[in-house]
């Protein structure tokens, strides 16, 4: 059990008598040097990979946003450099701010619901009960399925005429909802995305719970703390770092979601987010009938900036945790 709870091996402080400091110091330095070379060797492939596979596409994207590309210049590679003029066009576009608002709704709505439901389920599953492992495993299924599978299924369930959801509403005496029309599609894709994200939150938060020592709960129970108080005074505070990671990664994953939205509604109507807008323009589908490489790259760069800002927030948070 000790193995589970130790997140980091204790750092050894050199406890050496002053007279032997020099010799030992040298040996330690040699060891450190060896360890550094080994570290470099083991991390080497990753470094090469990171340098080749990310900066290059990123560079292409940014370069594309600063040139005016169209179908013809894409083939010849002779697109003229236009500075930030495509950026100005995008920001001035009547679609820009509504799309930002819809993206914010999609991301924040998904995150809050996923986290609350995921945490509730993680606490529910914290202690084993008969079948708990199997059920927890089954909860992963929606996460592991191809999104296109889940998205088509939701699309059918949300079908206005014969979808099961509207049938259920009918049984409850409610009016059917046009789930995937322009007005409601944002809510619909958000619901489907919440469903998709619950397993991710459950897994991470559950593993975070397993790292909290059971002795803490035993001690709290001996002191007569109710489960509610245990949650707010032990679980929630100790889970804060894990929660931060969950929400940060969740934000990032949700911000860049294209497929679930695309498959359910092709990003039409209110369900257009920054990511689906970029996708539509880049490949001339859905909301954008023509290919607009440069405009797509601009929206992509905006997404990238938001992502980098989140990275900075995370780093700041991590620093503060360590202090």
């Amino acid at each position: 059990m000790a193995f589970r709870t130790a997140t980091r091996a204790p750092q050894r402080k050199p406890r050496v008598a002053p007279e032997s400091m020099d010799r030992r110091g040298q040996a330690a330095r040699r060891n450190r040097r060896r360890m550094r070379w080994a570290g470099l060797a083991f991390v080497g492939p990753l470094l090469v990979y990171l340098l080749v596979f990310y900066p290059y596409p990123l560079y292409e994207n940014i370069s594309m946003s600063l040139h005016r590309f169209n179908r013809a210049t894409f083939v010849t590679g002779q697109a003229p450099f236009v500075g930030f003029s495509v950026y100005r066009e995008i920001f001035a576009s009547p679609q820009f701010w509504p799309t930002v608002r819809q993206t914010a709704f999609f991301v924040i709505g998904s995150l809050v619901c996923q986290y609350v439901i995921g945490l509730a389920l993680a606490v529910f599953f914290r202690r084993n009960f008969p079948l708990s492992a199997v059920l927890r495993g089954l909860f992963l299924v929606p996460w592991l399925l191809p999104i296109i599978v889940s998205a088509t299924t939701w699309q059918w369930m949300m079908d206005a005429d014969s979808g099961i959801i509207n049938r259920l509403l009918g049984v409850l005496g409610l009016d059917p909802v046009w789930w995937l029309n322009a007005d409601h599609s944002l809510t619909s894709v958000t619901i489907a995305n919440i469903w998709l994200g619950i397993p991710f939150n459950l897994v991470i938060l559950y593993s975070g719970l397993q790292n909290i020592s059971p002795q803490l709960y035993e001690a709290a129970a001996l002191d007569g703390a109710t489960p509610w108080r245990q949650f707010w005074h032990i679980t929630f505070p100790l889970l804060r770092p894990v929660s931060a990671v969950t929400l940060l990664l969740g934000f990032v994953y949700t911000l860049k979601v294209v497929d679930i939205i695309w498959i359910m509604s092709m990003g039409t109507g209110s369900s257009q987010t920054l990511a689906t807008w970029a996708y539509a323009m880049a490949f001339g589908k859905g909301a954008s009938a023509v290919i607009k490489y440069s405009q797509a790259a601009v929206v992509g760069s905006v997404l990238l900036l938001i992502a980098l800002a989140m990275g900075a927030v995370y780093l700041f948070y991590q620093r503060r945790q360590e202090d």
Partner: protein, 272 residues
């Protein structure tokens, strides 16, 4: 006795939650087994049962399933080879610029797939590797590698230092320590990383739909399914049957991986 009753009550509640969560999947299977004329009835079980949709789909989609398997395993191989040693280095060895690397790993996960897809499309069309399987594998691996490194590093940093020092006192090199102590201990991490690398590659829609534009040579199952949505004018029976087929690897891998989960996610190796 009270304790036991309480526990069974939790099981019942757990079953209800799971049923709610998995209902869409049940619905998918239900529709895929219902005759065409009865699909819009919305029966709660396939009252007018047929497997005809599967026969139709299997004739058309089998090659796509093959492509997806190849792409999936290729992505797993690339991911494991890069992520496992890097995780070890970041967790247990001195790596210059470790913070920078960790930061980079986080940041690259944040890069929107749309940005990557557009960049890869540009590069691939220049290099002439659009519509190739290795091209798709490399693009898909960018989803899994950063995740893999972080999973490995997180697990490996929980391996007691004493265990590694003991191995090194016995004269094991870093590579030996890695391959015969760290990797076996990290077996579950390997399953996790491999599993997700496979499933993400299998499920990938964005890269497949951009880097494989109408090419007949490689068409993963996600694209086979997507074509159905477009071309078949909402033929929900075959559509759902394809969806079920596309879900099979998930089902298989989940059953296989469940064994590892049951073995105790991290405790297994050291607890006894």
């Amino acid at each position: 006795m009270v304790g036991i009753r309480r526990v069974w009550w939790k099981t019942v509640l757990g079953l209800v939650f799971t049923a709610l969560m998995l209902f869409p999947l049940y619905w998918m299977v239900n529709v895929s087994l219902t005759q065409r004329s009865a699909i819009r009835n919305g029966d709660l079980f396939p009252a007018r049962f047929t497997v005809e949709h599967y026969a139709v789909v299997l004739r058309q989609q089998l090659p796509y399933l093959g492509t997806s398997v190849v792409v999936g395993f290729g992505t797993v191989a690339v991911t494991l080879v890069i992520a496992a040693p890097a995780g070890y280095a970041l967790a247990k060895l001195l790596v210059p610029g470790r913070r920078l690397i960790s930061f980079a790993l986080l940041v690259v996960q944040m890069v929107p797939a749309v940005v990557m897809a557009l960049g890869f499309y540009m590069i691939y069309s220049r290099l002439g590797v659009l519509d190739t399987i290795p091209g798709l594998i490399m693009a898909d691996s960018t989803i899994a590698v950063p995740f893999g490194v972080l999973v490995y590093a997180a697990f490996m940093s929980s391996i007691p230092q004493d265990l590694l020092e003991a191995a090194q006192l016995d004269g094991a090199s870093y590579w030996r320590t890695f391959s015969s102590v760290v990797l076996p201990l990290a077996r579950n991490s390997t399953v996790t990383v491999g599993l997700f690398a496979f499933l993400w590659a299998w499920s990938d829609f964005l890269f497949a739909s951009t880097l494989d534009r109408g090419g007949e040579r490689l068409r993963p199952i996600t694209m086979g399914l997507y074509d159905y949505i477009g071309s078949q004018n909402q033929e929900w029976g075959p559509l759902m049957a394809t969806a079920v087929l596309a879900s099979i690897p998930t089902a298989i891998l989940l059953i296989v991986a469940q064994r590892y989960i049951a073995a105790g996610v991290t405790a297994g190796a050291v607890k006894d």
